[in-house]
Subunit: 343 residues, 2 copies
């Protein structure tokens, strides 16, 4: 039997890559393979952050659902979110496009208008890239560079048992926004605007990430791209710990409960697994005074919610439900490659 | 009539992007959009080079013709060549893959073995990237970082009338190697090995590029990815000059003449337009002593050939043929997006 990549999960594939590569002996590589971004020391007090991400038509977006402008902003935002999760400041972007010949040039222009506007919100600049032809699908690949102080880098691997777990914003909004578009089309009720925006034009939490890093209050951080359960699991795997999260403390919007009814998917499922929220998930030592965190939330008008606790690895990866029952949590969202369960 | 990207050439699309973007006011951006790579100053005497490039299945390679190992080496080599053309030293790579679920995991492993080996030839390291699922086609996107001294950067825009034009290696080899594989399959005569290797595993001219930059003898440099005519045209457009090249001085292998007979394509056409040679094309002031250049060629056992001269823009873009006739040269290879002529 010939094994294909669909027989493996993302984490297993990354482990295979690590096996193949030589151990990096370069001490300037502060963060290598397996985190949100790579980080390279460029001076005593300066480190360069580098991240890249491909978005492929019909895999990550559909041309009929997203304007060129929205796609441009979104592609940048997704990468900004990775920089945010390291506590860094974004600076420069490169854009590589795979262009199908039939793509309208207006869509091309709008894509770059979106890229420009999303970068300029954070005073970052487009400095290069590449155009190539593809047969059918539009491919948008972004490389983003940023900077961080080497002592303020927040990786996935610093969480310790006892740490409190926090999340910015609300959970499940992007997934619900997708359902709003599927159900109502573009003429959806105005009350669902925040959800649809969360889906089409997510707001990367760059300022929050920077402040959390500056105050040096957190032990680990990641952005939620695959879903809360999956990304918390990434922290647990890299930190060699377990976690428990409290269902009744998850920050959910009233509208999420409405969309839950329509879409036949529970609010909990949205919150845990729907992904693409691009909120920050981070851990803080239990003894740390939370005054600074409150300050960040107030300054940015951003809800920041304590949703759980890091525990020992052998205690498990758990959801404490509304009846106070301890359930094993499955990191469903995380596996890009394995065949869909039940499929 | 709705215009699509196929109505435009790459250069026109890049001009559109420049129109949309704000003028960069950041003085750390030493080279921005429109050159082989971007360059950012990170210290008085240090600049960071960044480049990225997407390779898409059935557009840039066919799985049946190239092993995972070869593809990995090739994808890195193509980016190394861009760093070489700036006179830089490669250091770090990020790899983003779009993986079709049916891709064999052996192919995946070999891809990373190729990436590892090509990087290690230049003491560079893989430090990150991203895996994502695609529906059908394998996508290999590489981001490569390197370093150069800010005063030694070689862009496309420094050529001046009177400069001599040089090229490393032989021309048309990669295109001919493709024809060898098409004609003979994998059981081709051994004498065509250099051509097939030029096609499947091009050698990026990193050492040559660095020495040319170190000696500060050149005024402009580019790597030949689209074809000699097209890439020389890039230098001419960015330097606002013309050029003439001498047909009888083009470095061609004996085997190229044989493949020319088989493939019904003239040696000149291979040399001017077939692309993907990844040789360096550069210009040198006429008064410069060429001793250093000879030294580089001898040190690296690499032919370096004078093939033409930069002239004024209004004098044209010319080929001086073997009968000493001045013909207008067409930068054919350069246009990725316009429909094929005659198609």
């Amino acid at each position: 039997l010939v094994k294909t990549v669909s027989n493996f999960g993302e984490f297993t594939l990354i482990e295979r890559i690590k096996q193949i590569l030589p151990q990096t002996t370069n001490s300037d590589v502060l963060v290598g393979i397996g985190d949100d971004t790579a980080v390279i020391r460029i001076a005593e007090d300066r480190a360069l952050i580098v991240t890249c991400d491909i978005q492929v038509e019909d895999q990550h977006f559909r041309l009929k659902n997203i304007s060129g402008y929205q796609l441009g902003r979104r592609a940048i935002a997704v990468n900004l979110s990775d920089i945010a999760s390291m506590g860094g400041t974004p600076q420069f972007a490169l854009v590589s496009l795979g262009l199908p010949p039939e793509l309208k040039v207006d869509y091309f222009d709008q894509l770059f208008e979106g890229i420009r506007d999303e970068l300029s919100r954070f005073s970052a600049h487009l400095i290069g890239g590449n155009l190539t032809k593809t047969n059918h699908k539009l491919i948008v690949d972004i490389t983003l560079l940023g900077e961080v102080h080497p002592q303020k880098i927040l990786t996935r691997s610093g969480a310790k048992p006892g740490d409190k777990i926090f999340v910015t914003g609300k959970l499940g909004e992007s997934g619900a926004g997708f359902q709003v578009l599927e159900h109502f089309g573009k003429e959806y009720p105005v009350s669902y605007d925040p959800m649809v925006n969360a889906h089409l034009q997510p707001i990367p939490r760059v300022e929050a990430g920077k402040l959390i890093a500056d105050y040096q209050i957190a032990t680990a951080m990641i952005d939620i791209s695959d879903g809360l359960a999956s990304d918390l699991n990434h922290i647990c795997l890299m930190s060699n710990v377990g976690a428990e999260i409290y269902q009744d403390q998850l920050p959910l919007s009233d509208q999420l409960f409405e969309i839950s009814q329509i879409s036949n998917k529970s609010p909990l499922e949205f919150a845990l697994h729907s992904g693409e929220d691009y909120e920050l998930l981070f851990t803080i030592r239990p003894e740390v005074n939370l005054e600074k965190l409150k300050e960040i939330g107030q300054k940015l008008s951003l809800p920041i919610t304590e949703i759980g606790r890091i525990i020992n690895k052998n205690e498990g990866f758990l959801l404490i439900n509304t009846n106070n029952k301890r359930l094993t949590l499955k990191p469903k969202g995380w596996d890009h490659f394995a065949k869909k369960s039940g499929g």
